[in-house]
Each structure stands twice: as structure tokens, then as C-alpha cells.
Amino acid sequence: MITLLLIFFPLAASLLLLLVKGEQVKKIALAAAVVEFAIALFAITQYQHNALTQFEINLPWIQSLGINFHVGIDGISLLMVLLTTFLVPVIILTSFKNEYKNPSAFYSLILAMQMALIGVFVSLDGFLFYVFWELALIPIYFICLLWGGEDRARITFKFFVYTLAGSLLMLAGLIYLYQHTATHTFDIAALYAAGQSMDMVHQGYVFWAMFMAFAIKMPIFPFHTWQPDTYTTSPTQGTMLLSGIMLKMGTYGVIRWLLPIAPLGVAHWGTVAIILSVTGIVYASCIAIVQKDFKRLIAYSSIAHVGLIAAGILAGNEQGVQGGMIQMLSHGVNVVGLFFIVDIIQRRTGTREIAVLGGIRNVNPQFAVLFLIVLLGSVALPLTNGFVGEFLLLNGVYQFNAWIAAFAGLSVILGAVYMLRSYQSIMLGETNALTSGFAPLSTSEKTVLIILCAAIIVFGVFPKPLLDIAAPSVKHLVESFQMAITK
């Protein structure tokens, strides 16, 4: 029941919002998102710490094709649900200072998006997963298209086609697997069995078909060129949804679908995929260093971070996958914080250009401190959330290959370079005409940043509860993966 509630409550709220007009929209949307978060928290209290799928619901849907409405939550899903339900209210709260035209549609789309995202994270049926996967694209497409910045039509179109191309490959892969299931069903267990029964070559096909979809969504070098443009052009909340949650659909997909379905494919092609991911880390970091637009810089830094997550997960060991799980959460929190900071700066000064800003710290030290904490989380300083994931991920990649890990580790250095450089240029130094009137933070802004900073520090010091949630499922997953590839 909880699972159904988690999926359909946002949908109901989303539809309800369409009927509401005026000022109340934001508050109702926020209230709905908070309720959803409470439901997720309740689910955590009910959750048993074992590898089994819980809160499972399996209803027949299109029986002639073996498609069921099969959803359920295990540790991995639960963390993703937690991330989604935590970030959506925060994201809604970040928009309190923005006046969007047609707000009821805007917030309705955000909640619809939440519904699709939750659906992706709890689906246990290949077809259902695909449906939610595509469904998630529609709200964000409209959010970007209707409320985006300049040149949005071209950029959202590119984004849409790009991801759709990936989805198509995934669909092909799923159908291919479906053909190989014994009873012609899309149920996850059957798909796992079908995938694992194939030989390495055929698993390789499945691997690439599905990996492309995930790689584009994350995105991984060289499938990333939609990302900086889209992140830059989207309205801040759209960017947050994209980078904070939607990107995790890709990494989640690798964990939930790719590793169990095509273990031999991963074992065979994983090296290539990891090299691509790690190349992306250094590549994106280098580009981030020369960016002039702060939002675009963060977009590139996101490519770097997600590259490490992908590499760690594909390494297929417990440290790597656990690191990936925890880093997905951390990255979600940090990147939302960073994009919000961009938004705060842009709304006050009218620009995001790093070079022309400066001296904001003199005017608003409080903002400077909060910014610094988010930044430290992003550069993975120990005792911030970013470090736990980064350490585990590097550890995982190291066990895969030491040199790749060393190369990936360059992100530790380059991340510090571009982040500190922009922090210095934006916040420190002498105040200029643009920044002298930098207004104090409003209550909603302060709330958001404090919540995020608290999450950054608390989960840097006590990551154990989060790690424990995912641990049994991850252990099970990794063990079956290792068994499949050594067989």
C-alpha cells in the first residue's frame, strides 16, 4: 500500500493543483511534497533491514503480454525514494521567491514528475519501468520548454530527442530480453533469468542497449552534450530536478537492471564503460575550470561527479555500489544546493558570470558560510556527505583497477581548483557595483540552505543509517553479480 501511496499521492496532488488558482499554489504544492516525504519516512520506519523486496504489490495489467503492475521497495529503491521525496519539497521551496507565470501548471508538473520518478525507482516490471522512465521525461520537457531561458526551444528539443534515442535502445533491449523469457513476461525476476541465461556476446548486446539509455540520462562522456545546455537553460527548479533526481534514474538503472541482467556483459564491456566514465570525470573537470558561467560550471562538475558514480557502480564490488548509492544522495543534495546558490546570485545581481561578481562575502557573510559548506560537500571534504561516497567509490574503482582509480582521483584536485576559483571570484575580494546591494537571504532561502547544509554535515558524520538501509540489498546484488561472472 505504501508503494501505491507513494506513486499516486503526488499524481493526485498534481491533478488537484491544476484546479487551484492564485497564491495558494506554492503552499499547497509544498504541503503535498512534505506529506509525500512523511510517507517515505514512514516507509523507512516500516522497512526491515534485509535484502528482500518489501511493500510489494503485483497487479495484472496487460496480461496477454505478461505485463504486470509490479512495484516494491528494497533498500536500494528506498534510498532513491528518500532522495526524491526529500528533494522535491526542497526544490519547491527554492521557488518561493520566483514568480512563474501560470504557477499551477508549473507545480503540477513538478509533482507529476515526482510521481514518475518514484515509479521508476519502485518498478519491478520491465515494461512498467519503461513507462515511468518515459513518463518522467514529459513534465521536465514542458518545465524546460515553457519556463526556460533563451534558446530553450532548440535546447529542449535536443534534450528530448537525445534521451528518447537512448530510451528507444532500452526498449529494444527490454523486448529482446522479453523474447528470451520462458513465459513471455516483463517481470523483473524473469528478465534477470533471461539475461543471465544468455552467453557473453548476447549479454553484450543487452548491455549496450541498456547502458546507452542510462549513459545518456546520467550523462556519461561522450553522450553528455545535451546536458550543459539543458542545465543552463532550464529554470532553476527544472535544473534541480534534472540534476538532483532525474540523473539518478541512469545510475539507479545500472544498479537495478544492468548489473543483474547482464553480468557477463558488464564484466566484458565494463572496462570500456568505466574508462568512458572516468574520462568524463577529467574531461568535464578540465572544461569546468574554464567556464565563465557559474551555472554551466556546475553542470560540468555534475558530469564529473556522476562519472565517478558510474565507474564505481560498474566496478561491481560492494564498496563501489555502496559508494554509488550514498553518492547519489549526496550529489543530489549538493547539486541542488549549488544550483540554488546560482539562482540566489542571479536573482540579486542579474548575472551568473563568475568574473564580474565578487565581494559578496563582505555584504552577506551568512550566505558566504552556507555557500562554503555546500561547496565543501561538493569537493568531498571529510565529514561532509560528499566524502563518504567519494571514498567508497574510489575504493571500489581501485579494486577494479588502480590506475583508473588514480586517474579518477584527479577529480579530487580539479574539483578543488574550479570550485575554489569560482568561490573566490564570486564571494571574496572587494565588493563591486553589482554586488554591493546584495540583499540578505529571505526566510525561504535561508531555510533551504540550512536544511541542505545540515544534510551535508549530518550525513557526512553519520552516514551509517543511510548505508545500513542499502547494505543488505547491495550485498545481495553484488554477491549474485560476482557469482554470475565467476561462474
Partner: protein, 632 residues
């Protein structure tokens, strides 16, 4: 007392939180009181622990707090380890930390960032304590990066100044280069031993053969971390720039404590290093090269803090030399004495700068002896200690290092002695130019000259006393003394020492001492001749100088070389990747797909003539063809 160890880092953390959150609302007195008080309280506990540890047979006490990170068989506990090494460092950090806090109350009194300063300092103490207290490598790494953060914050304390900010950023990034090595080393330790807690790692390591490649790799990676943090070649250039921070920061972080973290780490992992002779060679060679290299730069610097900064780099090189030749106790001994006299020298320099109203150029000083007598006296003590004047603390620690170096290789010893001579020269040059002869500054400055208040001079006096007597805990047996420090640290270095057993004949040791003292005196005499007898003053900027002088004065242009070799190419690569690969190549392919589809459909759409008859005709023909294909 040992049960209270959790309080030691907790107190500064609480201090940080109180001052950081409410600092603006509190008066300066309260901020200073809280800031220094928590450190003093931590010091008191540290003393208690030290005494308790001394009194009990068990020399290594782990204290568990909570599980920090677990993933598979990786399990990192947030736990502390009390043993002689960590308790000694606790004393140094909290003790000197307290004195410097006390000093800062007065030194920073007129700064608008007073409370921020104390918040940062407390945070630094917190992280530094974590670094030495942790019972596994990851907790050490937490402290390691944390002190780097505080160093960043404090170097860039006056954040309106771009040059200071650049220095701060440089320090952080250079440290991060080392940290990456350290992190990879930790991961390799985990992969090799299946654990990262000291106890388990060292127990297993003992069973490895000397020179096992994996141990060499681990130790080299860890040493990369030490190079960054402890400013060794080639990652040293951040430390001189770090002098941009307030002077107490230079004393605490960039002389007494943080920069010695690398030495602590190697001393802690001594068993791993002892089993990797190759790494030991590398450590010794890099150490002595750094010592010599930095000393040559120190010879010609004119900024009082820069001279001390290069001297710090040089002394750190000494410590690594000690570690590299297996004299772990010697290295730690020098850390301790260096903490005393270098903190003293920096604080003394701070007092001078305070008296001079912010002036740091020694060419504009001179004759300060009569204006600031206490500073002068204590500074002289510090100078005598650092150059290794017989009887002062530096003498004993330096002697121990040199004796061990001699035993290892005469070349290392020779370079060490040469460095000692240079140290003697530049330190006395600094001393003479600052305190002797007549005042060379402006009249206004002369009028302004005054001795610092007692809050500043008391720490100076305490540190001066420590600099003089601090060596007594490590009197070599040649003098019939008892090396207390060696006995105290014995449990920590036990497993290494039986592998590195050595003792020089007493006569050789005495000769070596004699040579070192003679070289030191030569340096002193030469400096005296140049700056007292001949009353020379270093040339002002832009005056004609010899090529070598220029080279050294500009620090061998190392910063410029790094800029040319690393920073510029990095920017270039970033630009190229962005403009060429991203925008042209990859996007070209992606958009190319779109263009191809557009082009092809541009051709095919011509088939849509709009003539219905034609459509029907094509349809019928196709049906007929399909039928034929089916039938035949």
C-alpha cells in the same frame, strides 16, 4: 583520564560552534576567553592522559565511539588511539595551541574578524586533534583534510585581498594533490590488509618481508600526502605563500602543528616504512634536498616571515631526513623542539610586526633591541635554539638527526651540516638586521615602536623557556644523560627499532657534534661580519644583483615554472576540450545525425507529389508485386 579523551577534540569543536554561531553577539573578551579556554581545558586533559599513560603498563589504548562508514568488509570506526606518540602530539598541539590563542587575543584585538579568527583557530585545533588521535588512517585523513580547510580559511583570512586569496587557494590545491596520494595509499592499505585501522594493519605488516613491492607502493603514496602537507619538494611552494595569513596562524599552523602532520603520519606508520627501504631512501633524499633547497632561498629573503617560512620548510626537510634514515624518535624530537622555537620565532616576528605597525621588511628594521627588549631576548633564544647552539633544544634534536644521517650515508650528513651552516647564517642575518645596529625605518615608525602587551609577551617567555630546556628530555647518552623521549616512545617504534638497531661509537658522535657546532659558528661569524661589522643592508628591489642572487631571490622561479607547466596548460586543455571536442566534435556528430535525417528526408519527400492518382497507382502496383512475391 583516558576515558575523557573524547572531550579533547570536542571542546575546541564546541568552542568553534559557540564562537562561529554567536560570535558577533559576544564581546571580544568572551570570545577570547572561550576560544583560549577550551584549548586550555583540552590541554589539561591531555596532561592528565599523559601522566596516566606514563603510569600504566598498557601503552596503547583504543577508544571507540561509533561506526562511521561500513561497506562490505570495509568498516571504519570513529575511534581514537592513545599511545605515547599521540599523547605527545596532544600536548604539543593543545599546549602551543593555547599559548598562541592567548597571544592572538591581543594580537588580533583590533581586527574586525576577531571572532571569526577564533572560530577558525578552534576548528583547526579540533581537526588537528582528530588527525593525531584517530585510530585508523581514515580518521587521520579527516583531520588531514580538515586542517587543510582551516589553513585555507586562515591564509585567506583577510579575504578582500586577492593575493591572499590566491595564496589560500594555492595551499588548498597543493595539499589536495598530496591528499590524493594519501587517499590512494589508504585505499591500497585497505585492499592489501583488509582493514585500515593501525592496529590490524601493523600487526599484519610485520609478517611481510622487507622490500615487498606493495609496501613500497603504499609508503610512497602516503609520502606523497606528506609532501603536500609538510611542504616538501616539489609541493612546498604553498607554504611561503601561506604567510599571507595572520602571524599567529603562521606560528600555529604553518610552523608548529599542521605542517608536521606528515612527520606524524610517517612516524605512526613507521613499521610500513621500515619494511620499505626504497621509500626510506626517497624520504631521506627528498628531505635533505628540501632542507638544503629551502635554506638557500632563505639566505636572501627580506621579509621577516618569508625567512621563517623557508626556514620551516628547511627544518621539515630535516625531520624527513631523520625519518628516512630510520631515526623516528629523532624526527619526532625535532618536531617537538621545532614546535617550541619556531612558534616562538613566529610569535616574536608577530610582535616585531606589531611594533612596526605592520612592516615586515627587515631592511626597514634594525636596532629594535632597545625598543622591544622582551621580544628581542626571546627571539634570540629562539634563534640560538634553531641554529643548534650547544645546550639549546635544537642542538639535541638536530644532533640526533645528523648522527643518524652520518651512519646512513656521509653524503646525507654532509648536506645536513651544510644546511645547518646556512640556517645559522640566515637566522643570524635575520636577527642582526632586525634587532642590531640602528633603526632604518621612518620616523613615524620609530615613534610608534613599543613592546607588546603582556598577553603577547607571556607566551613568548614560556616558549623561550621551552626552547631552551626542551632538549633536556632527549639528552644523548654521550653526555651521560638519559634519552627520556626515546624511552617514552619506545612502544611505538618497537617493531621498527630492532630492524634498525645502531649505535655510533661515542668518539665519532662527539666529533660529529663538534663539526656541526663549528659550521654553525662559521655561519654566525659570517653573518656577524656582514651585518654587524660591515653594516651591510640587503639591496632594495630592482637594484643590480648577480645572476645567482637573482635566481635565488626569485626562489628559482619555481612558481613561474609551475604556472607555465601546469596552470597554463590546464587552462588551455580545458578551453580546447570545451571549444573543440565538446562543441565541434561531439556536438558535431550529434547534430550531424540531425542534419543527415533532414537531408535524406529533403530528398525523399519529393516522392510526395500530391497527385492522388499517382499514389493509387503506386499502391496498386505494390499490391500486385507483393501478391506476385507471395504466389511465386
Amino acid at each position: 583520564m583516558i576515558k575523557l579523551v573524547g572531550l579533547i577534540p570536542l571542546l575546541p569543536l564546541i568552542g568553534f560552534l559557540i564562537i562561529g554561531l554567536f560570535g558577533k553577539k559576544l564581546s571580544k573578551g568572551i570570545v577570547g576567553f572561550i576560544g583560549s579556554g577550551v584549548v586550555l581545558a583540552a590541554f589539561a586533559i591531555a596532561v592528565g592522559i599523559f601522566i596516566e599513560l606514563n603510569g600504566q603498563a598498557v601503552k596503547s589504548v583504543p577508544v571507540e565511539f561509533f561506526d562511521w562508514i561500513t561497506a562490505g568488509k570495509l568498516s571504519v570506526h570513529f575511534s581514537f588511539l592513545i599511545d605515547p606518540l599521540s599523547s605527545l602530539f596532544l600536548l604539543i598541539i593543545t599546549g602551543i595551541g593555547f599559548l598562541i590563542h592567548l597571544y592572538s587575543v591581543s594580537y588580533m584585538h583590533d581586527d574586525e574578524g576577531f571572532s571569526r579568527f577564533f572560530a577558525y583557530l578552534n576548528l583547526f585545533i579540533f581537526f588537528m586533534l582528530l588527525l593525531v588521535l584517530g585510530s585508523n588512517y581514515l580518521i587521520m585523513f579527516v583531520g588531514w583534510e580538515g586542517v587543510g580547510l582551516c589553513s585555507y580559511l586562515l591564509i585567506g583570512f583577510w579575504f578582500k585581498n586577492t593575493a591572499y586569496n590566491n595564496a589560500a587557494k594555492k595551499a588548498f590545491v597543493m595539499n589536495r594533490i598530496g591528499d590524493l596520494g594519501f587517499l590512494l595509499g589508504i585505499i591500497l592499505i585497505f585492499v592489501t590488509f583488509g582493514s585500515i585501522s593501525y592496529h590490524e594493519v601493523f600487526e599484519q605488516a610485520k609478517n611481510y618481508a622487507t622490500g615487498t613491492p606493495v609496501l613500497t607502493t603504499i609508503t610512497l603514496l602516503l609520502f606523497v600526502g606528506a609532501m603536500g602537507k609538510s611542504a616538501q619538494l616539489p609541493l612546498y611552494t604553498w607554504l611561503p605563500d601561506a604567510m599571507a595569513g595572520p602571524t599567529p596562524v603562521s606560528a600555529l599552523i604553518h610552523a608548529a602543528t599542521m605542517v608536521t602532520a606528515g612527520i606524524y603520519m610517517i612516524a605512526r606508520s613507521n613499521i610500513l616504512y621500515t619494511l620499505s627501504p626504497f621509500t626510506m631512501e626517497v624520504v631521506a633524499v627528498i628531505g635533505v634536498c628540501t632542507a638544503l633547497f629551502a635554506a638557500t632561498i632563505g639566505l636572501v629573503q627580506n621579509d621577516i616571515k618569508k625567512v621563517l617560512a623557508y626556514s620551516t620548510v628547511s627544518q621539515l626537510g630535516y625531520m624527513f631526513l631523520a625519518l628516512g634514515v630510520g631515526a623516528y624518535t629523532g624526527g619526532v624530537f625535532h618536531v617537538m623542539t621545532h614546535a617550541f622555537f619556531k612558534a616562538l620565532l613566529f610569535l616574536g616576528a608577530g610582535s616585531v610586526i606589531h611594533a612596526m605597525g605592520g612592516e615586515q621588511d627587515i631592511r626597514k628594521m634594525g636596532g629594535l633591541k632597545k625598543y622591544i627588549p622582551i621580544t628581542h631576548a626571546t627571539f634570540l633564544m629562539g634563534t640560538l635554539a634553531i641554529v643548534g647552539f650547544p645546550g639549546f633544544s635544537g642542538f639535541f634534536s638536530k644532533d640526533e638527526i645528523l648522527a643518524n644521517a652520518y651512519e646512513h650515508s656521509i653524503v646525507l650528513w654532509f648536506l645536513g651540516v651544510l644546511t645547518a651552516g646556512m640556517t645559522s647564517f640566515y637566522m643570524f642575518r635575520l636577527y642582526f638586521l632586525t634587532f642590531r645596529n640602528t633603526f632604518r625605518g621612518t620616523h613615524a615608525q620609530e615613534h610608534h615602536l613599543h613592546e607588546s602587551p603582556s598577553q603577547m609577551t607571556i607566551p613568548l617567555i614560556i616558549l623561550a623557556v621551552l626552547s631552551v630546556v626542551g632538549g633536556l628530555i632527549g639528552i644523548p647518552e654521550v653526555f651521560g644523560g638519559h634519552h627520556y623521549l626515546e624511552a617514552f616512545l619506545k612502544p611505538v617504534f618497537e617493531d621498527s627499532s630492532f630492524r634498525l638497531i645502531h649505535h655510533l661509537p661515542e668518539s665519532t658522535e662527539l666529533i660529529l657534534m663538534g663539526v656541526a657546532v663549528a659550521v654553525m659558528l662559521c655561519g654566525l661569524a659570517y653573518a656577524r661580519k656582514m651585518y654587524i661589522t660591515d653594516k651591510q643592508v640587503p639591496a632594495a628591489e630592482g637594484e643590480e644583483e648577480s645572476a645567482i642572487h637573482k635566481l635565488v631571490y626569485n626562489k628559482y622561479w619555481v612558481d613561474e615554472i609551475y604556472d607555465f607547466l601546469i596552470t597554463k596548460p590546464l587552462n588551455f586543455i580545458g578551453d580546447a576540450l570545451h571549444k573543440v571536442v565538446d562543441n565541434e566534435l561531439i556536438d558535431g556528430i550529434v547534430n550531424g545525425c540531425g542534419y543527415v535525417v533532414n537531408g535524406v528526408s529533403g530528398v525523399i519527400r519529393r516522392a510526395q507529389t500530391g497527385n492522388i492518382g499517382f499514389y493509387v497507382f503506386v499502391m496498386v502496383i505494390s499490391i500486385v508485386l507483393i501478391l506476385f512475391a507471395q504466389l511465386f
